[in-house]
């Protein structure tokens, strides 16, 4: 039984008001909230019970780089939602540019992270085992980065091979981009909390 012939895959259910993919995506995001929540919970517990928690002067996390990356992700969220809006307005070519922009911005985020943060820190000796702070820093940002990579893969799929679906069933394709967008905004949302927690607090 293929997904296309199952009811409420494309059109919303008359009573529940959603199409199945959107509900599924939100449920998945709820589980992701609990995943990152456990890491934030670990942060709270370890920090509150620590005799000493390194301040900004000890961690040397670059606020300008962090701010830049925050803005990069926010812009990528805008391009992502604009991609969906373009599809709703039947402007497929525009949507492809927006999706491509999202991927580029995501790659910028990752590369900045890798070259201007992880690598210098690693060389400096600030590795995961250095302190509880850095253990949490690497785990939190690392897991977040894995989620970004996942998002890049999905968006690239819809940009390239998956784009054939637009011709077959444009509404279905638009829905899938909407769901991808939900995931992507969530990744941005996590960073909106990670940035102040790790860099500023």
């Amino acid at each position: 039984m293929s997904a296309e012939t199952l009811p409420y895959t494309v059109h919303p259910h008359p009573i529940t008001g959603v199409y199945s993919g959107k509900l599924g995506t939100w449920l998945f995001l709820a589980s992701e909230v609990m995943l990152f929540g456990a890491l934030f919970s670990s942060y709270v517990l370890l920090r509150v019970s620590a005799a000493h928690w390194p301040g900004h002067d000890e961690t040397h996390l670059s606020v300008p780089i962090g701010t830049f990356n925050t803005l990069v992700l926010i812009v990528s969220s805008v391009t992502m939602v604009m991609a969906w809006a373009s599809l709703k307005m039947n402007e497929f070519a525009k949507a492809r540019w927006y999706l491509a922009a999202t991927v580029v911005l995501a790659l910028v985020f990752l590369l900045v992270k890798l070259f201007f943060e992880y690598m210098p820190k690693w060389e400096h000796g600030h590795r995961p085992g250095f302190s509880s702070f850095f253990a949490l820093y690497y785990t939190l940002t690392g897991l977040h980065a894995l989620h970004i990579i996942g998002g890049i893969i999905v968006i690239t799929y819809f940009l390239l091979p998956g784009s054939a679906l637009w011709k077959k069933d444009p509404e279905y394709y638009t829905n899938r981009i909407e769901c991808t967008g939900l995931y992507w905004h969530f990744v941005d949302l996590v960073w909106i909390f990670l940035f102040p927690v790790l860099y500023l607090m």
């Binding site: 959107k22 509900l23 709820a30 919970s41 019970s49 809006a85 709703k88 909106i192 940035f195 500023l200």
Partner: protein, 107 residues
């Protein structure tokens, strides 16, 4: 979610306005971190601004403002409740010590 072109064009304006708000919020967060009140208040301010930004992303970019699906609201409500439990209860447990640990054996 409204499907007509006119509606979506109106929303595009909203998206751009939210982007502006998020950028301002980011600048505010960074600026506030340089004004030292106390660790507690500084952290609270940072988290409040972050929560406002997150709410904007959720409401506008993630379309929650227009979301009719009740199942989604229930899911978020339940998730929020358990998220708070997960954040607060372990650390509260760590600090609720037996009487002896707090006051010593003869305290």
């Amino acid at each position: 979610m409204a499907g007509s072109h006119a509606d979506v064009r109106k929303h595009v304006r909203t998206y751009l306005m939210v982007f502006g708000a998020l950028a301002v919020g980011t600048a505010l967060t960074v600026a506030a971190s340089y004004v030292h009140i106390s660790t507690g208040w500084n952290n609270a301010i940072a988290l409040v601004i972050a929560s406002v930004k997150a709410s904007l992303v959720a409401a506008i970019f993630m379309h929650l403002k227009w979301e009719r699906g009740v199942s989604i609201w229930w899911t978020l409500l339940i998730c929020a409740a358990f998220f708070l439990v997960l954040i607060f209860l372990p650390v509260l447990t760590t600090f609720d010590l037996p009487r002896q640990a707090q006051h010593g054996m003869w305290g």
